[in-house]
Amino acid sequence: MNGLPLYPNDVFGENTGMLLGTLIGMAFGFTLERAGFGRAPVLAAQFYLTDTRVFKVMFSAIVTAAVGIGVLSGFGALDLAMITVPETFVAPQIVGGLVFGAGFIVSGLCPGTSIVAAASGNLDGLVTYVGVILGSVIFGLVYPALEGFYLSGALGVVRLDTALSLPFGALAFGVFLMAAGCFLVAEKLERIFSARAGRDAPPGQSRTRNGAIAALATAAVVALVGGFVHKHEAPVAQAAAIAPAPVKAAAATRRTASTPSKDAPAAGSAPAPSAAPVVAPQGAPRKGGGC
């Protein structure tokens, strides 16, 4: 059991990982385009509430993935401790989020969707992504002045389920309930604001929405049950990382493992391979795991 995720279990090597990254990226880009996110006006409508498609797509995706992780880990197929979780830096992520949101509505695209917009031939997408590159460079140039703030509020990896001492599946179920309620509110809002803007509201989606809610509800219940059936041992902090491949080190430092290692607050940026363990304590983890 616990054979997933594949890469941290050494099922394939670094170069295969890069190739798979391109394929996963292709699926990501294809889906974003089909979601309508290659076109800035579609995304901008979210912020005038005339079409809350961004919210619906994003939260359906988050619920699907969270519930999926809850089910797979709840029944022991996926080792949750091997899943990389971004570290929490309170003030930088709140301030960064506010500035990011401002940039989002000014451009009408976000970094990922600007790639898709560019791929669709929309030059505003290409220019947005060039802007994102420039912004990253500007950040680096003023980094010495920002470093204090950048490293402030470092809490390490904080997962809401472990913070609340609840199974992952239970929290995933909670996120599902919240999303389902928000979908109904969002549809109501877009009817009101479309009328106010003199536009047609987005076409009725109640059948699909109810279908999606029913399907996700079923999976969420399974995740909830699985979360209580399969009692997770708390992620164990550990000293030595077993992450020889650079991509693993990069992944570890970029987002840091779900092990709550608070010893490396700067690990979000610094490629220090020893900083953040991704691989679980079992030495040869392929057959390891505790299910």
């Binding site: 995720p5 594949l6 391109t22 996963i24 990226g25 292709m26 990501f28 294809f30 974003l32 385009e33 979601a35 290659g38 800035a40 579609v42 912020f47 005038y48 994003m58 359906s60 995706a61 619920v63 993935a65 969270a66 971004p86 570290e87 830096f89 930088p92 960064g96 990011f100 949101g101 940039g103 989002f104 451009s107 009408g108 976000c110 970094p111 600007s114 898709v116 917009a117 791929a119 505003d124 060039v130 590159i133 420039l134 912004g135 990253s136 460079v137 950040f139 140039l141 980094y143 904080v158 995933a172 989606q205 699909t208 929405r209 999606a212 650079p246 990069a250 992944a251 987002r255 940026s269």
Partner: protein, 175 residues
């Protein structure tokens, strides 16, 4: 907004698109052990360009130096390959849907130059912000949200708050 010509494949129902997107994200977690990203590749592309123009200054920079320098291959990174995939997937999807056309997407409210200035300015803001927050809508909101990271949920709520606060100021662009 323009009507969709009959030759275009319509975009998906948002709940269906979200479900498929969630499966892609879940696939990334199950296969790689981590999720998706959008701005990480931009950061590395920028650093690679700086390293090409001014290697000494780049490698001496406190932030860039973490990515570039002896023995470090700044572009040899999963997020760069993934971003290349996003582009290829976007080409495939837009072309096959009949939505692929070269131009600047704008409303009547702004000129082409203004639209591109907004695009550039918004991009710069997001580029800076994504570095401060350690990720963007893909790496933080979507990916971190799905693994229930506290900071990612804070980021996500702040993104919506920032967007709604500034939206009235740029309404002209979307009219």
């Amino acid at each position: 907004m323009k009507d969709t010509p009959a030759t275009q494949t319509p975009i998906w129902n948002p709940y269906v698109a979200g479900f498929v997107l969630g499966l892609v994200l879940l696939g990334s977690f199950v296969i790689m052990g981590f999720g998706l990203g959008g701005s990480g590749a931009a950061n590395r592309l920028g650093i690679a360009a700086c390293d090409l123009v001014a290697p000494a200054a780049t490698e001496g920079n406190a932030y860039f130096g973490q990515f570039a320098g002896a023995g470090k291959r700044v572009l040899h990174d999963w997020l760069v390959w993934e971003a290349l995939g996003v582009f290829l997937g976007g080409v495939l999807a837009s072309y096959s849907a009949g939505r692929s056309s070269l131009g600047v997407l704008r409303s009547e409210g702004v000129s082409v130059a203004q639209r591109l200035a907004f695009a550039l300015g918004g991009g710069v803001l997001m580029g800076v912000a994504a570095r401060i927050a350690r990720g963007c809508t893909s790496g933080q909101a979507l990916t971190g949200g799905a693994v229930l990271s506290a900071g990612s949920w804070m980021f996500m709520m702040a993104v919506f708050a920032g967007g709604y606060l500034v939206a009235p100021l740029v309404r002209r662009q979307w009219r």
